[in-house]
């Protein structure tokens, strides 16, 4: 499988994603500079984490104007898989490819820790190797991961199975205490209605090796490969 990892000024998980796909998954991957304008029709696109443009205006707000984003929109319309992780999720929301927005964490602090996620839709391209209700241990690291969306849209997203991951406790319950950042309905990851554009705050690329604490994130890449 061919992967394209986008690189914006200020991206800082670009190399991590590239290494996870190449070294851990053994797939071909290339880095795509944000000033480029084309993507290949058979590429799976990863929009990595970081602080694009320093996140100075609003996370992802400037990156969405980068030349490469037109190509990402075309690829999305073309049905190619697009996965935004952390800052990448924020960029895809800003670009209108995903519903909702990400605002400051509930307690206003940056949070870096490993959380438990529950798979709430195992029929997507990134969860095909998981089952509904499965629990994953995956790290988060963000200051603005508090997912927010209006009630009507949320209802609609639920009905289309667009809520992919939720923050839960060790029993799989989406409790307030298990919600690290205040996200509405404990949402950690979503997809578009068509099921090919994904956004998630947790970092699956950081959970791809037991050595680093968890390899649960590898299942996401395994799922993509089998899709």
């Amino acid at each position: 499988m061919k992967f394209a990892v986008l690189q914006f000024p200020g991206s800082n998980c670009d190399q991590d994603c590239l290494r996870a796909v190449r070294n851990v998954m053994g797939q071909s991957a290339r880095m795509v500079w944000h000033k480029e304008e084309t993507l290949e029709p058979d590429e799976t696109i990863i929009v990595p984490g970081g602080f694009s443009y320093g996140d100075y205006l609003r996370c992802g707000a400037i990156a969405r104007f980068s030349p490469i984003m037109d190509a990402v929109k075309k690829a999305a319309a073309n049905g190619q898989a697009v996965i935004g992780i952390c800052n990448g999720f924020q960029i895809l929301c800003e670009a209108g490819l995903l519903p909702g927005a990400l605002v400051r964490n509930r307690d206003m602090h940056f949070i870096c820790e490993t959380v438990t996620l529950r798979v709430d839709n195992s029929r997507t391209k990134i969860t095909a190797h998981m089952h509904d209700g499965e629990l994953l241990r995956v790290p988060i690291a963000h200051g603005e991961g508090n997912y927010t969306v209006d009630a009507d849209t949320l209802k609609e997203m639920e009905s289309y199975g667009q809520i992919v991951f939720r923050y839960v406790d060790e029993n799989g319950e989406a409790t307030e205490a298990a919600n690290p950042n205040g996200s509405v309905s404990n949402i950690a990851g979503v997809c578009n209605r068509e099921g090919n554009v994904f956004g998630m705050m947790p970092h699956p690329e950081r959970a791809a090796e037991i050595l680093l604490g968890s390899d649960n994130g590898k299942k996401l890449f395994d799922s993509l490969l089998s899709a």
């Binding site: 000024p9 200020g10 800082n12 998980c13 190399q15 991590d16 290494r19 996870a20 500079w33 984490g49 970081g50 602080f51 443009y53 320093g54 996140d55 100075y56 602090h109 940056f110 949070i111 870096c112 820790e113 790290p139 690291a141 200051g143 970092h203 690329e205 950081r206 791809a208 050595l211 680093l212 604490g213």
Partner: protein, 752 residues
């Protein structure tokens, strides 16, 4: 605007003594102008010239078979880690800026140390930090201020490190009234590079162009180096303009652009970051190292404010700037790479053979000073020393004399909880949760344990691991700076050892009070000698570091705080050992004996409010032997967890490993003839708690004993969520949840 006349008042305001001014007249052969006076003042500040400390710093061991770039040669030292790979690391303070503006002060501290590392050609891969504040509990104005400082500093470190994408993998935070109003913020960074990627900061090759790259110059941080080289006072708040403003996004671009440029070694002659003393220090130091001269035109320097005078441009400490000496003919290559990253790259001058640094504005010469004399002939002082009055009396204190019997079990149990919940000993999760400690996908042991461990991927698909730990017990150092400093080295090395690493080198940050106070300088000298002796014993050369003097508040000087950051090497994945208990039914082995020393202990201080007594003995030979023996059994794969015994003694060490692992224990110390309080809380050095599978306990004990190290099995880990210590007369029993609550909640409870 006309420059002010050079008067004795102006000279004094620049922190230049009459004798130093005489020396300036000699060097120049004439009176300096205003800009030149400014240049001398920052170059000869303690921060840049180490004029008060240099003579002492020569005592450090700096040689070793792994040294590729040694202390003092360049921005940071470089150590070989085998194969083609090397590590480059250094620690630096940003204490004064953080005292007046905690967020920006701490942020730019991180930014500054990062530049020191990537200037050397290395990619920064790990941050550590060592922080000190006054007490944060209570409603006093000091406590409130200390909370503001802690929150601001942590947020500043997080802001910079998280954004630039370098994980903050560990560190330490300690609270003591001596740091009221004068917090310590010491930032460490480690980078990796291949041997052939080492870059130097020398300007050579007459006619080679001098490029200014990165952020534009503004009026921020004017003469910050000079500001850092005097006492903090009430009026220091007015020095806020001397604090720089950090932009980690800009630095990220600068980092990537520089590393991309360094992939073309033929294009780069020398690199120097603009840190303390900005453009002044970078031009003069590169010229001095290259034995050359430099001529620059300030009209060509990118500026973000209008009407800046030459004095302001030369003394600005605007962040995220570098000076690059480019090989003639490669100018376009440099411009192309920096343009890709949307950064300024301005050719501002060229290398000459005059040996002088000449600053022009258009055709007008505004400063003309000899490079080498300014960099190397800074004044050197041998300060007066005097042992602090009353120190002997403090040292002679005996805990056992004041408290002839041990408290009863109930009280000991309560004290155990209190100690776990004292902010200095409690969990620092509130702090490190705000730091991205996993970006770059190499963090194997995360913050909270003995040492942080990261993976290094080597050429050809191999891997190695680097352990890092920063330590210093200021209380020990205040009561015996020599011994306390030896312990700082021993403890940082011990933390690396516990993770499975062999310590290979270190960097130190010497935080002290005003060097003109003979008692302070006595502490400084004792400390440097203690550090030197210990580094020799461990064969860990000092590869560089930082001196921060003038740390005091209106009431007192800070406790002497020589922070030692140790770097260790782990060759194999299987040698990496965590400090938390891994499973129930492992045997718990106490290595190094029961110990007995209560002087200067955390127990004495946190429970009784007493900061007296002699710190524990540090027998370096025995400590090295102990660490070698523990490392050997770790390398044989017998050890499931290893945690050193330090602040708070055995009781704290056991509880920390249990809490982190979520596992209980039953320990039996009833056979001991020692007083219970001493048994639980003494801080005798050279000790550790290991866990091991029962089948291997015998063999582990035998091996340690064969190596001449005391070792005894004292109990086992359990499924039960209780922590039990059986003593001769009673059993202490605490639910894991209760100790954990005290440990976890201490800092969040006051920080919200």
């Amino acid at each position: 605007m006309k420059d002010p006349a050079i008067t004795p008042e102006l000279i004094d305001k620049h922190g230049i003594t009459p004798e130093e001014y005489e020396h300036i007249l000699e060097i120049l052969g004439r009176e300096p102008n205003f800009t030149e006076l400014g240049i001398f003042s920052v170059m000869w500040s303690e921060h840049c010239s180490y004029k008060n400390s240099r003579a002492e710093l020569k005592k450090f061991p700096t040689e070793g078979d792994k040294i590729l770039v040694k202390a003092g040669e360049e921005n940071a030292g470089v150590l070989d880690i085998g194969g083609t790979m090397a590590v480059c690391f250094k620690i630096e303070s940003h204490n004064h800026p953080s005292a007046v503006e905690p967020f920006q002060g701490a942020a730019t501290g991180v930014g500054g140390i990062l530049r020191d590392i990537f200037t050397m050609g290395a990619r920064p891969v790990a941050n550590l930090n060592s922080l000190r504040f006054g007490p944060i509990r209570g409603d006093s104005p000091e406590a409130k201020r200390n909370r503001v400082l802690l929150a601001g500093v942590v947020e500043g470190i997080a802001h910079y490190g998280n954004c630039i994408g370098v994980p903050t993998v560990g560190g330490e935070v300690v609270f003591d009234p001596s740091y009221n109003g004068n917090p310590l913020v010491n930032a460490f960074n480690l980078g990796i590079l291949r041997h052939d990627q080492i870059r130097r900061g020398a300007a050579s090759g007459v006619g080679n162009p001098v490029f200014y790259v990165g952020a534009k110059t503004g009026r921020d941080g004017l003469a910050g180096a000079a500001f850092a080289s005097r006492d903090l006072t009430e009026e220091s708040k007015e020095d806020r303009p001397a604090v720089q403003v950090g932009d980690p996004f800009m630095e990220k671009l600068l980092l990537e652009a520089c590393l991309e440029l360094f992939e073309h070694p033929e294009a780069v002659v020398g690199v120097q970051d603009m840190g303390a003393a900005g453009l002044t220090c970078s031009t003069i130091e590169t010229a001095s190292r290259g034995g050359s001269g430099i001529e620059v035109d300030l009209n060509l320097v990118p500026q973000r404010e209008t009407g800046m005078t030459p004095y302001e441009i030369m003394l600005s400490e605007s962040q995220e700037r570098m000076l690059i000496i480019v090989k003639k003919g490669f100018e376009d290559e440099v411009r192309r790479i920096f343009a890709k990253w949307d950064l300024d790259a301005a050719e501002i001058g060229y290398v000459t053979d005059t040996g002088r640094t000449v600053i022009k504005v258009g055709d007008e010469v505004v400063a003309d000073v000899p490079s080498r004399e300014l960099a190397d002939d800074a004044p050197l002082y041998h300060r007066e020393v005097r042992e602090p009055a009353g120190l002997k009396e403090l040292q002679s204190y005996s805990y056992e004399a004041e408290f002839p019997t041990s408290p009863a079990a109930d009280e000991l149990s309560q004290q155990w909880v209190s100690l776990m919940g004292s902010p200095s000993l409690a969990s620092k999760e509130w702090v490190y949760r705000q730091y991205d400690h996993q970006v770059q996908k190499n963090t194997v042991l995360v913050p909270g344990g003995d040492a942080a461990v990261i993976r290094i991927e080597t050429d050809g698909g191999g891997e190695r691991f680097i352990a890092m730990a920063a330590d210093c017990n200021g209380r020990y150092c205040s009561l015996d700076p020599r011994r306390g400093s030896m312990i700082a080295v021993a403890e940082s090395a011990r933390n690396c050892t516990m993770s499975g690493a062999l310590p290979i080198g270190c960097t130190d940050n010497l935080n002290f009070g005003n060097p003109h106070d003979p008692e302070v300088f006595w502490q400084f000298r004792e400390s440097v000698e203690g550090l030197s002796e210990a580094c020799r014993a461990f064969e860990t050369p000092v590869t560089g570091g930082n001196v921060s003097l003038y740390n005091k508040n209106p009431k007192c000087s800070i406790d002497p705080t020589p922070v030692m950051a140790m770097v260790g090497l782990i060759e194999e994945r299987g040698h990496i050992t965590p400090s938390d208990f891994q499973s129930a039914d492992h045997d718990i082995v106490l290595v190094g004996g029961e110990g007995s020393e209560m002087g200067a202990s955390a127990y004495l201080y946190e429970i009784h409010g007493i900061k007296k007594g002699m710190p524990p003995e540090m027998n370096l030979e025995a400590e090295v032997k102990f660490q070698n023996a523990v490392r050997a059994v770790i390398h044989q794969g017998m050890v499931k967890s290893a945690h050193d015994i330090s602040d708070g003694g055995l009781a704290l060490a056991l509880a920390e490993s249990a809490i982190a692992g979520g596992i209980g224990f039953e320990v039996d110390l009833s056979g001991s003839t020692q007083r219970s309080d001493v048994l639980l809380f003494n801080e005798t050095q050279g000790r550790a708690v290991l866990t091991v599978e029962p089948a291997q306990t015998e063999s582990l004990l035998q091996q340690l004993q064969d190596a001449g190290i005391a070792a005894q099995s004292i109990g086992k880990t359990t499924e039960a969520a209780d922590l039990q210590i059986k003593l001769a007369e009673a059993t202490l029993s605490q639910p894991l949840t209760q100790l954990k609550a005290a440990y976890d909640e201490a800092i969040p409870a006051v920080m919200h």
